[in-house]
Amino acid sequence: MNDLTPYLVISTTLFCLGIFAVLTRRNAISILMGIELILNACNLNFAAFSRFVTPPDDISGQIISIFGIVLAAAEAAVFLAIILAIYREFSTISPDETDTLKG
C-alpha cells in the first residue's frame, strides 16, 4: 500500500470492467454504471500518481480527480435525462431496440 503498483492494478481492473460492461450490457443504465467505473478508474489513477509520482506538496493530481468527479456528475445527469426521453419514445432503453436510424 506504500507502493504505486497495487493502485494501478486496481484502477486498470476497474477500467476494464467498465469497458466490459459497456461492450456487453444491453441496458442503458448498466452502460452508465460501466462508464462510472471507467471514470472512477481514471480518478484513482490521478490520485495515486499524485501521491507517488509528483512531489508531496504538488496535489494537482488530486485536483484533476475532483474535476473528474464533477464532470461525471454532470454527464450522469444528462445521460439519465436522455434515458428518460428515450424511454418515453420507445418504452425500452436497450440500444439495440431503439434502432430506427439505419443504413
Partner: protein, 170 residues
C-alpha cells in the same frame, strides 16, 4: 500482522469484487447497490492515498448524488425493480475478448514502465486548504470556472430534455 496493510487489501478486494458484481449480476438493482460498495471502497483507497478531501467528495457526490440518480433512473424506466438484463452469448464472447486484450496490454504497461516514484513520501496534514488555494489562487482557477459552465449546461440540458412530456400536454 499489521493492521494497515490488511485494511488496504480488504478495500482493494471489496473494490474489485463489487465491481465484478456490478458488471455481471443480472438484477439491475443489485448492480446499483454493488456499485455503492465499489464507490465507498474507492473512497477508502483515497484515504490511503492521503487524499482526504477527495475521499469526502467521492462519498458525497458519487454515493450521495450519482448513485441516487442511477437508482432513480432504474425506478423510472423499469416500472418494476427486478428488471432482468439480457446478455447475448456472441456479444459476451467478443466483449470479453476485447476486455481481456486491453487488460493484458495495460498490465504490461504497468509492469514494464519504470514509474518515477518519489523516494520520500511525505505525510500530508489535510489537503483541503491546499486544494482551495490551488483552485482559487493558482492555475486551476480557469478549469474551475469552466466546470461551472459545464454544470450549467448539464442543468439546463437535463431539464430541457426531460421536460418534453409536460410541453406536449399544453
Amino acid at each position: 500482522m499489521e493492521l494497515k496493510p490488511l485494511v488496504f487489501y480488504v478495500f482493494a478486494l471489496l473494490t474489485i469484487g463489487s465491481a465484478v458484481i456490478v458488471v455481471t449480476v443480472r438484477n439491475i438493482v443489485h448492480a446499483a447497490f454493488s456499485l455503492m460498495v465499489t464507490l465507498f471502497s474507492i473512497a477508502g483507497l483515497y484515504v490511503f492515498l492521503q487524499a482526504d478531501f477527495l475521499a469526502a467528495t467521492q462519498v458525497i457526490v458519487y454515493v450521495g448524488g450519482i448513485l441516487v440518480l442511477i437508482l432513480f433512473g432504474v425506478m423510472m424506466t423499469s416500472g418494476r425493480l427486478d428488471m432482468k438484463l439480457k446478455m447475448e452469448r456472441g456479444q459476451l464472447f467478443w466483449g470479453g475478448l476485447v476486455t481481456i486484450l486491453i487488460f493484458a496490454l495495460l498490465l504490461g504497461v504497468i509492469r514494464r514502465t519504470p514509474w518515477n516514484v518519489q523516494e520520500e513520501l511525505g505525510t500530508v496534514e489535510g489537503t483541503t486548504a491546499q486544494i482551495g488555494k490551488a483552485i482559487l489562487q493558482s492555475e486551476f482557477l480557469l478549469p474551475f470556472e469552466v466546470a461551472s459552465v459545464i454544470l450549467l449546461i448539464a442543468l439546463i440540458g437535463a431539464v430541457l430534455i426531460s421536460r418534453k412530456e409536460v410541453r406536449e400536454d399544453e
